[in-house]
């Protein structure tokens, strides 16, 4: 008997003749009090992200040129003039940077390690938990480019901000490679005290626009 058949037979044997379980009660909140993009949610999101030690830049405008200025303003004090960006981000977002690498999938990990920053969009953001979701698409890029560079500048449009985790998960396609980001890389492994900055990007700059 193959291991597969053996394990499945063991499971069926262990469960007995008529395994049943009661229906799952879903009395928890499926939606928050506020609609996507509500000002209350933006305030909550900013509070959560700052709690995680992310840098938040709030701009009222949502045109691509204003976003591009905010990206450059965020990177300038860090003395970063070079960034990689996925093919689907508007060119204006990186228009003020001296050196822009548009990802064509050819850069390997070592090449990415020499690029100090990455500029991407996002697909949905959950305010209550301060969680930004990337889906590996044209706006977010393949996973490696948002991982290896040390600074991640991520654009979150206010209209994509929802309140709760269930609302966030409903808006993404599960078969895409998803990355849920809640602040910069961190660890609690030393005396269960949280410190930021381990293997992922140590700087997370979130530009909340609109």
């Amino acid at each position: 008997m193959s291991a597969r058949d053996d394990v499945l037979a063991r499971i069926r044997g262990a469960l007995g003749a008529d395994p049943t379980a009661p229906p799952v009660p879903r009395a928890y909140r499926q939606h928050g009090e506020y609609a996507a993009g509500a000002p209350e949610l933006v305030l909550q999101l900013v509070d959560r992200l700052e709690d995680y030690r992310a840098t938040v830049v709030r701009i009222g405008a949502d045109d691509d040129d204003s976003i591009g200025r905010a990206v450059a303003d965020a990177l300038a004090p860090r003395e970063i003039g070079q960034a990689v960006t996925p093919p689907g981000t508007p060119r204006e977002w990186t228009g003020w940077l001296a050196d822009v690498v548009v990802d064509d999938g050819s850069l390997d990990a070592k090449a990415l390690d020499r690029i100090p920053a990455v500029v991407t969009g996002s697909v949905v953001t959950i305010a209550e938990t301060g969680t930004i979701v990337l889906d590996g698409g044209e706006l977010c890029g393949r996973r490696a480019i948002t991982l290896v560079p040390d600074t991640h500048v991520c654009v979150v449009r206010v209209s994509d901000v929802v309140q709760t985790v269930p609302e966030g998960l409903q808006r993404v396609d599960p078969v895409r490679p998803l990355t849920f980001i809640s602040g910069p890389s961190a660890t609690s492994d030393i005396e269960l005290d949280r410190v930021e900055g381990v293997h992922g990007p140590r700087q997370l700059v979130v530009i909340v626009s609109g």
Binding site: P23, A109, P166, S182, T187, I190, G197, P201
Partner: protein, 504 residues
Amino acid sequence: MSTFLGMPGGRTAGTRGPAADPGVGHLTGDRSFPAAAHDALANTQLRRNLAHATSTIRAKRASVVAEVPDWEALRDAGSAIKADTMARLPELLEQLEANVIARGGTVHWARDAAEANRIVTDLVRATGADEVVKVKSMATQEIGLNEALEAAGITAHETDLAELIVQLGHDKPSHILVPAIHRGRAEIREIFAREMPGVDPLLTDEPAVLAAAARTHLREVFLRAKVAVSGANFGVAETGTLTVVESEGNGRMCLTLPDTLITVMGIEKVVPTWRDLEVFLQLLPRSSTGERMNPYTSTWTGVVPGDGPQDFHLVLLDNGRTRALADELGRTALHCIRCSACLNVCPVYERTGGHAYGSVYPGPIGAILSPLLTGLTGGDDPNDSLPYASSLCGACYDVCPVKINIPDMLVQLRAEHTEAHADTHRLPSPEAAAMKAAAWVMADEGRFAKAGRAAAVARHGIRRGKPRIPLPPPLNGWTASRDAPAPAAESFRDWWTRTRGGSS
């Protein structure tokens, strides 16, 4: 196979699968819990480290759980989803397998630790690589994968900070979430200074400095690694999606950069639908690290062309899980999402630490899960002592995000152990003999009254909580660590007969 005779609340539903082999992997220690705990309690540094770490995490958890208005509804849903999963486990695993294959992955099944180790070793060998990077994974700890790879000439680099501290310190993990919880910052600095090649000799014990040292140390390894091995927090049957929940980004590195990814997942980690993650992604981070959300959660479904590993293998592991599954109460131990909240609130764990439990699963959940996976012998096997490593205070049940009734399970396992002991020993244990004698006395009114009067006489043998004459074994075992209460001069029954409850 022994037959479980039953206790209120514990019932065998079906045929037990085989127990995990305690000789492979790390499900059993080499000493009983009391013996190991005795040494741990004498280590004041350990107790200070544990008290500090567990009190920090308890406060954080309590604060972020309190701000969730529907926490109890989430726990109810989490518990019910897991119960539903167990009831439909064969079909869900087949569905998960079909979806992983449909998206370009390969699925393997392993009956036990040895088979899983063999599968992973062969897969790594086939790539030609002589090293792998690892995401922290309880399943691979359980089966002793690192040792198996090492025996095959393959170096396994642990990349989680706490796992790295354990690996560099030639130590054993002592906590599900933070395997190096028993180490303070000064000890970690010492380990890094001693074991990390090329580390800055001026390294301080600031956590941020130590984290930066780990980043530098592992960076080159991540960038060159061709093969990664991970566990999985959840596997979604409906879509074939695997999930890893982490903080540092070492998980993302392993799941993204290498060409080949091998994921070892216990069969109980499957969940029916994508929607179910909306429950667990709320329960898990708040219960484990006390954060609203962990920094990084990665999900992937098979192989994505041009993004991440192009060769993906999922190894589904039994290793005693079908043994636990056969028991209606024991089955609920498989609901565990490995958050470690029960460890952090346990008064026993806080004092003894995780090494005393022997198994990679320490604390309250380990005290039930380890013996459920390996079986109880009724003899002196170290895991036989684990169900007694509890005061049954119930704090673990209160914090469990999926409402596993650990105290009830501990009581059932104690009964099972007693019965197994009776089956394997000609003479009853001293405890069983004492209970039998007590039952005989208490079954008859006259005998009980006489026993009460006899106890009043015995009180002269006890002074300030200690017997005047040392008691013979096994009674001295009781009085070694406890006061012997002196019986009252008059039994309650005699007092009642004399005074009518104080009315005369």
